[in-house]
């Protein structure tokens, strides 16, 4: 028990919660009133830093660095080496955001994740990542902190407002597709990596990058597995974003049914809205809302995957069933932070502060979350090598899993969208 209490200030899982709590606290108390974000630019990359934004980005980098360094030093690690490496990782994160902020790049949906990975991989696989930089490339710490911050954005109190048709499409299809893909990957394809199977399944059925990160952290996947899952998801997201709307138009699908279909299948939120917008305002709104309802499932899926991993996948088949205490010891604690953030925002802060104030807090914490995920992707790139990545794709099984799973997702979501939005169960959405 004493060891478990000691973990409160010695384990990265708990520190992710403390970091996120400090950020939420800073915003709620009014200490943090602005979080800088790299702006969109078209021809000149310096347009990304209008006015004194560049200075604020440096200040924020130092601020996050100090916060993380406090944690690292209390964990009794070499904080000087961490800080040195962190500053380089942060600089690369800023460059990744600048690349992702180019208006055309943004229009194609190539976000900071793919740029962070690309810059990191490029350095790691050419000149090699210096050891002192690797000390600051704490991908798991960045991911876990980002996920606890994401938890605050999952507002249970808002779900019921979003309407039954959306709930039906998002919440029936998602678990069905995850289970289908898991069984198909492990039993039919017999994929060597179970974490990779569940990462691809979650990314396909829930919401792409965020779900992949959450599930990878929950099942303690290798970095190369997460990189592969995210890379594949992003490529297919672009293809679906440009391919699906013309198809809907070609077959004369009603805007609401098409919106439900797009929202339930395309992985990234931005791409969903872009594809829906192509079909008009009703499709755009329905697509966006279905996606947002689906995003709520990230935490639940990560929680269930963590429990399943401890009780089934990682368990010695000859060993007795793990006790509740053992499950608790091995459970990734940052997921509890994720759930706690969601519950606190939904049921305590929302009634106490009101919708508008909470939205303001989440707007700022959401930008922090983006920075932490970007730091994580740069770090993953810096720690990965192409050989390891290539070994994951041998035989093409991950791609087969994605294509078959996504096809199943497309068919099932279309069916459910037709039932929910086509006038079968609920009144017709005419637009």
């Amino acid at each position: 028990m004493g060891k478990e209490i000691e973990k409160l200030w010695k384990s990265e899982d708990y520190w992710a919660i403390w970091f996120a709590a400090a950020i939420f606290g800073g915003i709620i108390t009014g200490l943090i009133t602005m979080v800088p974000k790299v702006k969109r630019w078209t021809d000149n990359p310096f347009e990304a830093f209008p006015g004194d934004l560049g200075l604020w980005i440096v200040v924020m980098g130092i601020g996050i660095g100090i916060l993380l360094t406090i944690g690292v030093s209390i964990m009794k690690e070499d904080w000087k080496k961490f800080l040195g490496g962190y500053l380089v990782v942060y600089a690369l994160a800023v460059i990744s955001y600048v690349a992702a902020g180019q208006s055309t790049v943004k229009a194609w949906g190539l976000g900071y994740a793919i740029w962070g990975l690309s810059f990191g991989l490029l350095i790691a696989n050419t000149v090699g990542t210096p050891k002192w930089i690797l000390k600051g490339a704490r991908s798991e710490m960045f991911i876990k902190t980002g996920l606890v911050l994401l938890g605050g954005e999952i507002l249970f109190s808002e779900i019921l407002k979003l309407g039954m048709p959306g709930l039906l499409v998002a919440w029936f299809v998602t678990p069905t597709v995850i289970i289908f893909m898991w069984l198909y990957g492990t039993r039919w394809l017999k994929m060597a990596s179970k974490p990779l199977t569940i990462i691809i399944a979650a990314a396909t059925s829930v919401c792409g990058v965020s779900a992949a990160i959450a599930v990878a952290a929950a099942c303690r996947a290798k970095k190369s597995e997460l990189t592969l899952g995210v890379g594949m998801t992003m490529i297919f997201t672009v293809l679906m974003m440009i391919g699906m709307p013309p198809l809907c138009k070609l077959v004369g699908m009603s805007p609401a049914v098409a919106g439900g279909w797009l929202g339930g299948t395309i992985d990234s939120t931005g791409a969903v809205v872009a594809a829906g917008a192509f079909l008009g305002p009703v499709a755009e709104k329905v697509a966006a809302v279905v996606k947002m309802i689906q995003n709520v499932l990230i935490g639940l899926v990560a929680f269930l995957v963590a429990v399943y991993w401890i009780t089934k996948v990682d368990r010695d088949p000859n060993a007795p069933r793990p006790s509740l205490l053992e499950i608790w010891y091995r459970f990734p604690k940052f997921i509890l932070g994720f759930a706690a953030a969601s519950l606190i925002f939904s049921f305590m802060l929302m009634p106490a502060m009101g919708h508008e104030e909470v939205s303001g807090v989440l707007k700022l914490s959401g930008i922090f979350r983006g920075w932490f995920f970007c730091l994580a992707f740069v770090s993953i790139g810096l720690e990965s090598n192409f050989k390891e990545l290539a070994s994951q794709v041998v035989g093409g099984k991950p791609i087969i899993l994605y294509v078959v799973g996504q096809s199943f997702n497309l068919i099932l979501t279309l069916l459910m969208s037709w039932i929910a939005f086509g006038g079968i169960l609920f009144p017709v959405f005419s637009g």
């Binding site: 969109r40 078209t42 690349a99 180019q102 208006s103 055309t104 790049v105 943004k106 229009a107 194609w108 949906g109 690309s118 810059f119 490029l122 350095i123 050419t126 000149v127 090699g128 808002e158 407002k161 979003l162 309407g163 048709p165 959306g166 974003m241 440009i242 709307p245 013309p246 138009k249 939120t269 931005g270 969903v272 809205v273 872009a274 594809a275 917008a277 192509f278 305002p281 009703v282 755009e284 709104k285 329905v286 966006a288 809302v289 996606k291 947002m292 309802i293 919708h355 939205s359 707007k363 959405f429 005419s430 637009g431």
Partner: protein, 84 residues
């Protein structure tokens, strides 16, 4: 020494490739025909991810039918987005 130069050369080459990729993407964006071109052009001008959050805050899907001029129509939405 030669190996070291090769590694740095590969890094520079990689960076040039990434920059060239962005430039090619940007230069061809106005020339893409059909639906893809329209979709990309629209995306260039809007911060679409924010729309999703705004829509989800609006609430019941039924409200969405109240379109262009209604409470949650385009005009109101753009006003809201300005403050986001």
């Amino acid at each position: 020494m030669r190996e070291r130069i090769h590694r740095w050369f590969r890094l520079v080459l990689g960076l040039v490739f990434l920059v060239a990729f962005i430039m090619v993407l940007h230069c061809m964006s106005g020339r893409i025909p059909g639906s893809t071109g329209m979709l990309i052009t629209r995306n260039q001008n809007e911060d679409l991810e924010v729309y999703a959050y705004v829509y989800s805050e609006i609430g019941d899907l039924e409200e969405f039918l109240d379109d262009e001029n209604g409470k949650y129509g385009k005009t109101a939405l753009h006003q809201y987005l300005k403050n986001y």
